[in-house]
Structure formats: structure tokens, C-alpha cells
């Protein structure tokens, strides 16, 4: 046995030597598929996006306006694989697009590495000023050292969605104006929930984690303190939110449906819960999952417990890998101008983060027949203004949410005690920021 293994060892070295030789003669200039070049005097740019950004027509328009630029868009379906790919290529040092979209949940990882990205205040067009964006959105794209890493694209101002028919059956008001007081504070929200559960013996909200996330997003700092130490044990507000939500869940308010799971999708169709937190982009989800049969049953109101909140939205960044950073920054700046983001909004419903866009008649006049002709443009524009500041999200914040807190809340719904669940969340979070 030992004899064989030592031969294996010798062979391994021989193979390694051979493979190094192969590597040596095979390596070339290191150019790869994702990066760009210049051909025939034209600057070739690439842009990477996930889900739908509504940029297709805009990119064509940009190329028409700038005949010397040729743009290729790389679209990925889901955000998860997209960002994994992004980080892999950042690590490899090759292959990224010239302009990359980064979602809010991942931006902290990007902001923690300002050395891998260009500072847009340095290479971007000079006429792009901070007042283009809502202040908290602009701040959200800045690294600690002050470099501007991302131009804001869209945001996800939060409102509440509710099933008016189920409200009616439970003896609750159904008219958006009359419903709004129920959603004035988290206290009134959960009180109404108790009333609803007592009446119908059905769940009030979809899951602990969706509700907790919405509450948590309103805190000034996230799961990490500004010195990037874990805030979960030092900030009593986080624990208080945890206790409030899990207690409501144990009183029967949670339908215990994991967000975005097939079961959750089905819950929309069967009316398994009466309310759900509704960032602007959630309207499309509700519509698609509840389906045409439930048209008119869901409603949305410009009220959100405890004021405003934001959930979601993205940024455009220019990695250092890019060979045409100036051109790339110019493109990103153009795409994130109010005029363009309004067009993208009309295409996909992604809510613009630009101050001027929020008062644009095209946006304000948007209504949605599915939600009983609610003036969705106006509602979310109003909600967007209620957001006071960007929550401080340290590096690893998104991962703590996804891999520590949300699973632990799910575990509580599955029977773990809130205390044990909290411990699980804290332990997992410690491991993530290790």
C-alpha cells in the first residue's frame, strides 16, 4: 500500500510538471470573453444585469447616439447565480463586464472592496451630481473611504398589500384610507392581526422572515455596527423586533410560508394570508402568483408601519478590470439619469431612485387595474420620500439576513423556541463575519 502511494506521489509530481509545461506554452495575453476590446475604431462595452432591468431599448438608443460605441448586454436570470459569478470573476481578476449591476443585498460586499472598483466621482461625467438621487440612495453607493462605487438605478419603497375580500370577511375595513390607520405602527399592525386571526383562524402575514426583514430595514444600522462588529447582541432593537415577530407568529399570525418558495406562491392563490409587505417590485410578484382569478382582491395602500422603508434596488458599478472605464462610467451615468430610469420603469416597473423621476407625470399617473386601479405611481412615490436614511449595512449584512436570520426564523416557525432560534441566528452570524 505504502509502496503504491509513494508511486502515486512521484507520478503526481510528474503530472504537475507536465501540466505546468502545458500551461506555459498555452498561456496567451489573458484576454477573456467578458472583457472588452476595440475593433475598427469602435469601443466595445459590455454590461451585466440580472432579472429584468428594462435596458434593451435604451442600449440601442445609446448606440445610436454614440456611433463609436458598441454594447453587449449579458443577462442572467436569477440574482443568486449572477452575483456568485460576479464575485468569482472579481476574485479571478478577469472576465467581468465593463458595467455591472449590483443588488442592494450584495452592495456591502462590493463597497468593502473599493480597490476593485473605479471611483465614479473621478471617472464619471462631471455633470452627474449627488442631487440626482434620493440622498439615502446616493449614500448607499459610497464606500467607507468616500469613493462612489455605484450609481443608483432603482429602489424598492415599501407599502402594505392586503386582501380586501379577506379583510371584509373578518370585519376589517377595506377602503385604503380606512385601512391605513391599521398599518400606522407595528403595534397597530399586529393588533389588527390578532383581531383577524381570532375572527378567521387564518394567518395574517406570510412569514416571520418577510415581516422581520421589513421591520429590520427601518433601523438605522443593520446587523453590523459601523465598526463592522456584530450588532445583534448589542443592539436591543434587533432583539425586540425578533421577539415581537416570533410572538405574533406563535399567536397564529404567520402562514409559515418561506418567501419565494413554491409553497409561498401557492399561498397567494389560495389566500393563505391576508397581508404582505409590499416593496414596489412586489406588485408584480403578487399579480403573477395570485393570478388573474384573484384580480381586484389584492389592494395596496400608502401606509407602512413605522413610516417608510426600502427593500431592494440596485446600483451600476465599473470594476477596475474594465479596459474602458471612462466610456463605461459614461454609459452607467446615462442609464441612471431620470429620463432613462422612467423608461425602464414603464417597461418593468422598477421604481426609479432619481429625485426628478419621482415627480414625473408619467410616473405619477401610473395606476394598476389588478389592485383595484390603485394609483401605484403616486403611492410608491410618496412612500419613497418617507425613507429617511440608508441603513448602514456592513460587509456580510446580506449574508447574515439570508443565511443566519431568515433560516432561524423559519426554524422557529417549524417549532424551535424563539430563544433557541435567536441563539442559532447569532451563532450563524458570528461564523459568517469571522
Amino acid at each position: 500500500m505504502r509502496h503504491q502511494l509513494s508511486r502515486v506521489g512521484t507520478l503526481a509530481i510528474a503530472v504537475l510538471a507536465a501540466s505546468v509545461a502545458v500551461t506555459a506554452c498555452g498561456s496567451s495575453d489573458g484576454a477573456s470573453g467578458g472583457s472588452t476590446g476595440t475593433s475598427g475604431g469602435k469601443v466595445e462595452l459590455t454590461i451585466g444585469t440580472f432579472t429584468e432591468f428594462g435596458y434593451e431599448d435604451l442600449l440601442t438608443e445609446y448606440m445610436r447616439l454614440h456611433p463609436n460605441i458598441k454594447i453587449t448586454q449579458h443577462k442572467t436570470g436569477e440574482g443568486g447565480p449572477y452575483h456568485q459569478n460576479l464575485f468569482t470573476k472579481l476574485a479571478a481578476g478577469h472576465g467581468l463586464e465593463d458595467v455591472v449591476a449590483v443588488e442592494e443585498g450584495y452592495i456591502s460586499d462590493v463597497l468593502a472592496r473599493p480597490n476593485l472598483f473605479n471611483d465614479l466621482t473621478k471617472i464619471g461625467p462631471k455633470d452627474v451630481t449627488p442631487d440626482r438621487w434620493l440622498p439615502w440612495k446616493y449614500e448607499g453607493g459610497k464606500a467607507k473611504n468616500g469613493a462612489l462605487i455605484g450609481y443608483g438605478t432603482d429602489i424598492g419603497p415599501e407599502a402594505m398589500c392586503y386582501r380586501s375580500d379577506l379583510f371584509k370577511a373578518a370585519g376589517l375595513p377595506t377602503d385604503p384610507e380606512k385601512v391605513a390607520p391599521l398599518f400606522a405602527t407595528w403595534q397597530s399592525y399586529f393588533a389588527a392581526g390578532d383581531q383577524y386571526v381570532a375572527h378567521t383562524h387564518k394567518a395574517w402575514f406570510d412569514s416571520d422572515s418577510q415581516t422581520f426583514n421589513a421591520m429590520h430595514n427601518q433601523l438605522p444600522i443593520g446587523f453590523l455596527n459601523t465598526d463592522d462588529s456584530l450588532a445583534m447582541e448589542t443592539n436591543p432593537q434587533i432583539r425586540a423586533n425578533w421577539d415581537t415577530v416570533t410572538a405574533a407568529g406563535e399567536r397564529g399570525q404567520s402562514a409559515k410560508l418561506t418567501a419565494f418558495s413554491p409553497e409561498w406562491n401557492n399561498g397567494f392563490k389560495t389566500g393563505a394570508f391576508a397581508t404582505t409587505v409590499c416593496p414596489s417590485w412586489m406588485l408584480g410578484v403578487v399579480k403573477e402568483q395570485a393570478g388573474p382569478k384573484n384580480s381586484g382582491k389584492w389592494a395596496v395602500t400608502a401606509a407602512f408601519p413605522g413610516g417608510g422603508g426600502n427593500w431592494g434596488g440596485s446600483y451600476l458599478a465599473v470594476p477596475k478590470q474594465s479596459q474602458h472605464p471612462t466610456e463605461a462610467a459614461a454609459l452607467a451615468a446615462w442609464l441612471t439619469a431620470p429620463e432613462q430610469q422612467i423608461k425602464a420603469f414603464q417597461k418593468t416597473g422598477n421604481f426609479p431612485s432619481q429625485v426628478k423621476a419621482l415627480t414625473d407625470p408619467a410616473l405619477l399617473s401610473t395606476t394598476d387595474p389588478y389592485f383595484g386601479n390603485a394609483k401605484t405611481g403616486e403611492i410608491f412615490s410618496e412612500q419613497a420620500k418617507k425613507v429617511e436614511r440608508a441603513q448602514y449595512k456592513g460587509p456580510g449584512d446580506g449574508k447574515i439576513k439570508e443565511n443566519a436570520v431568515s433560516p432561524a426564523l423559519q426554524a422557529v416557525e417549524q417549532g424551535k423556541s424563539p430563544q433557541d432560534g435567536w441563539q442559532q441566528a447569532v451563532d450563524a452570524a458570528k461564523k459568517i463575519i469571522k
Binding site: 508511486r7 406562491n265 412586489m282 408584480g284
Partner: protein, 274 residues
């Protein structure tokens, strides 16, 4: 099987039940693809397909470059399959029938390589591909898969017992070079096992997801990457996704039914001696 009675009806019954279990998920995805995703909430799902399949299929073609993806997948899986079968048979032949120093140690090494977890190789492999200038192009998904340890293992196991040493000796006496012995003796003898290895490799390559995702450009996708794009957006339209998977499975299914006899024969022949 002379001497044994014809199979009784309960044997057919059990087999039929098993096959219904095998077919059911395929049929079920076709059902969803031909209706809308609302059927997934129904306690008792409908048993007959609805009329939406072609509409859903048309949406698949609108959403992603499906033909291109199909073409890429055929090129990638086809090349990988042919090369794997040839190179694995070659190496398997050497391990099974040729005497050389270090044979056993090297073969043990081949088996050991099966245990290398593939997930972590992604970053070093990507760096290598980028250095070679292959990232974003089909060679990046083809080259690393041109030969496989499981294939070498499989062909060696088969050839040990299926290829009599006398044949090789006879050919050698005849003055055949080693390569000729391989080409005229070993290769034909390994056909059944190679047929199976071919199918196995083709399926592995066809279903590969993580590596193509990292190394290919999204607008030059393989079928699996195109399918992933169908799940875009904050919500998943299962009718659309399952219409896509059905479309992607049809070519495989056709090949499978057409070549089923050879493939089955391949497994049967290849596995006689573990």
C-alpha cells in the same frame, strides 16, 4: 430463458407501476407546461394536458436564444462524448491489457481522482481558462471534460474481461503496432461499453450547470443556462420554465428512444463483471 415460464401478469403489473412512477414527473411537467401554473395548487391536479403548450413554448423562444443554446449544447455534449469515449477507451485499454511499470498505482490514482470535489475547482480552473483565452467560448466547457476518470475506470473494468489476451497477442504476432491493436481489436471489442459511456457522458455534459454559468457568456449559452434565464424576475412562471425543460428534454428523449436498444445493450454488456 428456456425452461422458465412466461412472466406472469403480476410481474407486468409491478413493472408497469414502476414505469408509471418513472414517467409521471415527465408527464406532470408537461401538464404544467400545457396549462398555467395555477394547476400546481390544486389538490387533485387535472390529468389531461391543456392547450397552452405551444403558447408557452413560443414564449420560451421569445425569452431566450433557445436554438443557439440547443446548437451549443449539441456541439459541446457531442464533442465531449466522442472524445471521452475514444480517450477513455484508450486509457482503459492500457490499464486493462498492457503491462507497464506503475500500472496499479496509476490506476488507483485514477480512482482517487473521482473523489476530488468539483465545486472548489471552479476558481483555479476559471483562472486557467482566462489565461488560455478560452473564457466565454465553447472550448472552455469542452476542453476540461474531454476525458473522465469514471470513463477510464468503466472501460478498464469492461476490457479486463471482455477482451481476450489471445486476440491481442495474435495481432502483435501479426506485427501490428500497439495503436493498430487498439484500433482494430480493442475498440471494436469495447463497443457495448462505449455506447453506455457515451450516453452517460452526454447526459452529464448536457445537464452541467455551474461551470458553464461561470465560464460562458449568457448570450452564448448552453441549454441549461437558457433554462435558468427563464426563471428570471422576482417571480417564477412555472409554466414557462417547465415548457422550457420539456423542450430541452424532447431531443434527449428522441435520441434515447431511438438508441435505447444500443444503450441498454451497452449497460448490460459493460456491467457483466464489476
Amino acid at each position: 430463458m428456456t425452461g422458465l415460464r412466461r412472466a406472469r401478469f403480476w410481474v407486468y403489473g409491478l413493472l408497469a407501476a414502476f414505469i408509471i412512477g418513472s414517467v409521471f414527473p415527465f408527464y406532470w411537467s408537461f401538464l404544467v407546461a400545457s396549462r398555467d401554473s395555477g394547476m400546481m395548487t390544486q389538490k387533485v391536479p387535472p390529468l389531461l394536458p391543456g392547450g397552452n403548450f405551444f403558447a408557452n413554448a413560443a414564449r420560451v423562444f421569445d425569452t431566450v436564444p433557445f436554438w443557439r443554446a440547443l446548437g451549443n449544447s449539441v456541439i459541446v455534449s457531442g464533442t465531449v462524448t466522442i472524445s471521452t469515449v475514444l480517450l477513455c477507451t484508450l486509457a482503459g485499454f492500457a490499464f486493462a491489457k498492457l503491462r507497464f511499470r506503475g500500472r496499479n498505482g496509476l490506476f488507483l490514482f485514477v480512482i482517487a481522482t473521482l473523489a476530488v470535489p468539483t465545486q472548489l475547482g471552479i476558481i483555479p480552473l476559471y483562472i486557467a481558462m482566462a489565461d488560455f483565452g478560452w473564457a466565454g467560448h465553447l472550448p472552455a466547457v469542452i476542453i476540461p471534460n474531454l476525458v473522465s476518470a469514471i470513463g477510464v475506470f468503466w472501460m478498464r473494468q469492461y476490457l479486463v474481461s471482455a477482451l481476450p489476451d489471445e486476440l491481442i497477442e495474435a495481432a502483435r504476432m501479426d506485427g501490428c503496432s500497439m495503436l493498430r491493436v487498439f484500433w482494430h481489436v480493442a475498440l471494436p471489442a469495447s463497443r457495448p461499453a462505449a455506447a453506455f459511456l457515451g450516453m452517460f457522458t452526454f447526459m452529464m455534459s448536457w445537464n452541467d450547470f455551474l461551470w458553464p454559468l461561470v465560464v460562458l457568456d449568457p448570450e452564448n449559452p448552453t441549454v441549461q443556462l437558457a433554462l435558468e434565464r427563464l426563471q428570471s424576475g422576482y417571480y417564477v412562471d412555472y409554466s414557462l420554465v417547465l415548457a422550457g425543460t420539456t423542450l430541452a428534454t424532447i431531443p434527449i428523449l428522441v435520441v434515447f428512444v431511438l438508441l435505447g436498444r444500443q444503450i441498454v445493450a451497452g449497460i448490460m454488456a459493460g456491467a457483466v463483471k464489476g
